[in-house]
Structure formats: structure tokens, C-alpha cells
């Protein structure tokens, strides 16, 4: 290969990895939220955690084309792992998150060979079964998980030995922000690495990638394990910041919620998961505060309307908008 083509290729990759306005705007807006809504810090924290979870699903679905109906299995496992660690006397937060990620990643690795084998609707069903299996396991081991009562007695040590987790959720917010941001950077790196590009290739044309000498099964297994690890870390964050773990963290409803967040935000964009989570959790909070009894009706209608009109998700719509504005500024 000549130097020129290599340079061209490098420029293309660099260009692709460049930060978009939307990404920058989101992380600034999230930080600004701390000062603008001091009474809603817990909600903001849960938006970041939900976003991280949705992003982990995006790695699978948006980049690998692997849909999952049971991603909460990894989220919940991470939550229980971190929760159990803290409930049994090791309340250090950062190692707890790593532990949660490790546990979920391990399970992800174990199931990844199964996932790599099946395709299409069967993937949805296999992941659904994994999710239900973990839910049932947690529910049938109340001596370990607290069962339907939830895992209690999670006692967190101060973050870095300095910052106590306070009633207002200030420490929790910055902690979740920092972890989510770091994992976002890591996910970006992965996506723009040769690994990530190969994954996209699998999504675009599953049968041709092996002809390039790339093992699809291996790529899928790696993607699945990474996605499970990040989901587990998101779960660990939730366990640590709410100091309780409920069976609900493993539920089908949570898996579906992640799918909704991701689709609302926009598939295959990474930031879409965060934007979708923020939008979805905010809408749910506002609607259920307005009417605690019938809020699901409006949520359903919004979802239906979104599916019929804005298929590219919010990031799609925002990209169109920013592109349009940019063109206005620099007329060609």
C-alpha cells in the first residue's frame, strides 16, 4: 500500500472519530444540569446511569446488529455484585464498579458463544431467556440477594476516601458523571478501532466479512462481552448510588426500557443512548408526577408517535438540524 492511501485512510478514521456538536453539547448540558436542577440530582444521576446502560446496548445493537431482549441480566448482575460486595464489608466505590463490570463481563463471555451462533429473531429469544433465567435465579436465592425484598444494607465508603455519599445526591451525581464519561470515551475508542470497524462490517454484511479473513463469531463474542461489562458497571453505579438493589434491575421491563431509550435517542451513535435515556426518564418523571395513575397512557402514545414519524431517533433529527445550521453559516 502506498503512503498516500495510508494517509487517506488515517484521515478518514480521524475524521470519523471527531467529536460532533451533539456529543459536546450533551456532556456540557449534563454538567450544567447539576447547577440548574439541584433538587433533581437523583433523577439526573439515574439518567446518566440509564444512558450508560443504553449505550452498552448500542454497542451490541447499533454497531453489531445484535438485538437483545435481556440486557438487564448484565445490568442487574453488576448491580447485585457491587451491592453484595458493599453489603459484606467492602464499600469502596471504584473497586465496586470494577467488580460489577467483571462479574457481568464474565457472564457475558460465558453466553457470548451461544449468542454468536444464533441469528435473527432467535437472538431476541435467547437473550430474553438469559434475562428471565437471571431474574428467576436472583428471586430464588433470597438468602443471597434478599429476593423480592431487595438487597439491603449497602454501606458505601466515601468516594476516594474524601467525599461522603450525601442525602442530596451531590457526590453520587459527579461520581456517576465521571464514570459514565470515562466509559463513553472508552466505548468511542473501541468503536473507532479496527475491532469496532469489523463489527460494523458484520452488521452491514454478515456473510462477506468472513471472506476478509475476519472471524464474525470472535468479533461478536468480544462485542458481547464488552457490552455486558459496561452494562454491569452501569448496574453497579445504580446499586451504589441508591444503596439498594431490587429484582427489578434484572427485569424484562428494564431491558425493554433500554431498547426504548436507545431507539428514542438514535441507534448506532453512542451518544443516542444517553440522549434517549435523558429524554425517556425525564418524560416518565414529568408524566407520572402530573398524573400518577394514567401516565403510562401518554408515554405509550408518545412512543407510538415516535415510531411512526421519527425513525432516526433524536440524534438523527438533531444531526439534520446542526448540519442545516452549519450550512447556513458557511454557504457553499
Amino acid at each position: 500500500m502506498s503512503d498516500i492511501t495510508l494517509d487517506l485512510a488515517r484521515i478518514m478514521v480521524v475524521n470519523r472519530a471527531r467529536w460532533t456538536t451533539i456529543e459536546v453539547a450533551f456532556w456540557i448540558a449534563a454538567a450544567a444540569g447539576y447547577f440548574l436542577f439541584p433538587a433533581k440530582l437523583v433523577l439526573l444521576t439515574q439518567m446518566l446511569i440509564g444512558g450508560l446502560f443504553a449505550m452498552s446496548l448500542d454497542l451490541l445493537l447499533g454497531y453489531g446488529g445484535i438485538a437483545s431482549f435481556g440486557h438487564a441480566a448484565f445490568f442487574g448482575l453488576g448491580a447485585y455484585a457491587a451491592g453484595l460486595l458493599a453489603a459484606h464489608g467492602w464499600g469502596e466505590p471504584l473497586s465496586g464498579v470494577l467488580f460489577g463490570g467483571l462479574a457481568a463481563g464474565g457472564l457475558g463471555l460465558a453466553f457470548s458463544s451461544v449468542i454468536a451462533k444464533v441469528r435473527g429473531a432467535a437472538v431476541l429469544m435467547v437473550t430474553l431467556c438469559i434475562g428471565l433465567l437471571l431474574f428467576e435465579a436472583a428471586s430464588r436465592m433470597p438468602w443471597l440477594t434478599g429476593g423480592d425484598t431487595g438487597l439491603q444494607g449497602i454501606d458505601m465508603w466515601p468516594l476516594l476516601g474524601l467525599f461522603e455519599f450525601d442525602l442530596f445526591g451531590r457526590t453520587a451525581f459527579w461520581y456517576a458523571y465521571a464514570v459514565a464519561f470515562l466509559l463513553y470515551l472508552a466505548a468511542r475508542r473501541y468503536i473507532h478501532s479496527p475491532e469496532g470497524l469489523a463489527l460494523k462490517g458484520i452488521r452491514e454484511n454478515h456473510d462477506r466479512v468472513p471472506m476478509l479473513g475476519v472471524s464474525t463469531a470472535r468479533r461478536k463474542m468480544i462485542a458481547f462481552t464488552i457490552s455486558a461489562t459496561i452494562a454491569g458497571m452501569a448496574g453497579a453505579l445504580l446499586a451504589q448510588t441508591t444503596q439498594i438493589v431490587a429484582l427489578e434491575t434484572l427485569s424484562f421491563e428494564r431491558s425493554v426500557a433500554a431498547l426504548i431509550m436507545l431507539t428514542v435517542g438514535g441507534l448506532g451513535t453512542l451518544i443516542g443512548g444517553f440522549i434517549g435515556a435523558a429524554t425517556f426518564i425525564w418524560a416518565r418523571d414529568v408524566l407520572s408526577a402530573l398524573n400518577p395513575v394514567y401516565w403510562m397512557f401518554w408515554l405509550g402514545l408518545i412512543l407510538i408517535a415516535l415510531m411512526l414519524t421519527a425513525r432516526g431517533g433524536l440524534v438523527g433529527a438533531l444531526t439534520l438540524l446542526t448540519n442545516y445550521l452549519a450550512r447556513e453559516r458557511h454557504p457553499r
Binding site: V114, L133, E136, V256, F297, L299
Partner: protein, 287 residues
Amino acid sequence: MLGFVNILLGGIAYGFVLFLMAGGLSITLGLMGFANMAHAALAMVGGYTAALLIGKAGWPFLAAVVMAGLTAALTGAILERTLFRRLYQASELEQVLLTIGVVYAAIAAATYLVGPEQMAIAVPAWLDGNLRIGPVDLNRYRLFLIVTGLVLLVSLVGLIEHTTFGAKIRAAVFNRRMTASCGIDVDKLYALAFALGSALAGIGGALSVKLLGLDPNFPIKFLTELLIVVSVGGLGSLRGTFLAAMLFGIIDVVGKYLLPEIGAFIIYATALALLTVRPQGLVGRPR
């Protein structure tokens, strides 16, 4: 020994309940390939129709069940024409989210219209109580479900596999444009098939109220079980759905009887194992 016979019968009866509820889904999800999460919501429509007609309007049981099927068919057809039709060509994921939206709205609507309390259904005297055959106690209502389930199975398999209607649907799913160019009105065909699936949902819902209860949360509560039954059976195969429903009913009840500490863990593990070994389902062909 006698206890075990009873348990086996309980499992079979539960399997028939699952089949009655999942039969319609086997048509919309399995045959038509539409990821219809709103199936149990349509079953709920049928359940409420029957329970209210019997309780408030004094209808006879069987007439109310038929009406439940019709109401659900109508609701399903309306939803299909206004919403679902637009997403036949979209990805499974978008179909899932659209129909989940319908589920949310249906739950809230049911809470608003009928209230969040548990709904009771009265069954006629000839279906109440037990029938004693030798040493075995058989519940009349469960026997009735088994008979209804068998009748439905036979007539549906006949309809899908041995009539032109069934052949047309299968053709349209396989190649929509080709079928349309043969002069078949695919739009109408899909609407009819969806209405049929919804009717079955409605009847299944109405018949299961007595055993499973009915409240606005119904559309979510049984969704996962039905999805698993249909996919383990094999998408597009009613016989597969039936087999899977039986397998599930029996494994679930027997498992809970022998090992109550483990509970439903056994059926999910079985389902996962089956799906791993045969992703196309028990009866389905590899795609």
C-alpha cells in the same frame, strides 16, 4: 402415585391455557413475522369483554366468549389498519417498540375504564366443580379448556396448512411482491390474518380469566411466557406452539411440585437450552 397423576393433569391443563393464549401469537408473530408485543393486550380486551358481558349484562358464558373473540378481532383489525400496517417492512425492533407503546396505553386505558381491581368471571354451573372418574378428580372447567384447545388446534392447522387462505398467507410472508403480482390482495390478506390472530387472543383471554385472573397489568404479566412458547415451538408452526405449550405447562407444574425451591428456573433453563440447540424451534425449519 395418584398425586403425580393429578400434577400431570394440572400441567397439561396449564399447557392448554398457554396454548389458547399463544395460538393467536403464533399467527401474528410466527406466521406473519410481526413482532407483536400487544398480543396479551388484545387478550385482555377479550377477557374484559367476556367478564363484563357476563357480570353486568347477564350474557350466557359461551356467547360472551364468542363476543370476546369478535371484539378483540375488531380491535386488532383497527390497530393493524391504523398503526401496525405501516411497520410491516420496518425492523423487528421498531415493531417491538410500537407495540410496546400500545401495551402502555392499553394498561392505562384499562385502569381508567374498568379500574385497577381484580376482575372476576362467573362460569355456568355445568362448568363448575369436579368430575370424578375413578380415583381421579377432574375439574370440569379444565376439561372444557382441553377440549376447546384441541378443537382450535385441529381447525387452525387445517386452516393454515390445507386451505388457500393459509397458502396465500404463507406465500405473502415468503415473498410479498410476488404474491401481490399474482393478483392477491396482500393488504386485505394481512388484515384478515391479523384479525384472526386477535380473535384467538380474545378467546384465549376470555377463557383464561378464571384460572389466571384479570387486571390491567395482564398485558405485561404473561407476555414473556407467550413469546417463549411461540419461539421455542418454532416461528410459523402452530403444531410447534402447541408442543411447546404442553412442554412448558408440564415442566413448570411438575418442577414446582418436585422442587418448589427452584420454581420457574427450570422452564427458563429448558427454554434456553432448547433455543441454543435448535434456534429454529422444535418444529420450525432453519431459516
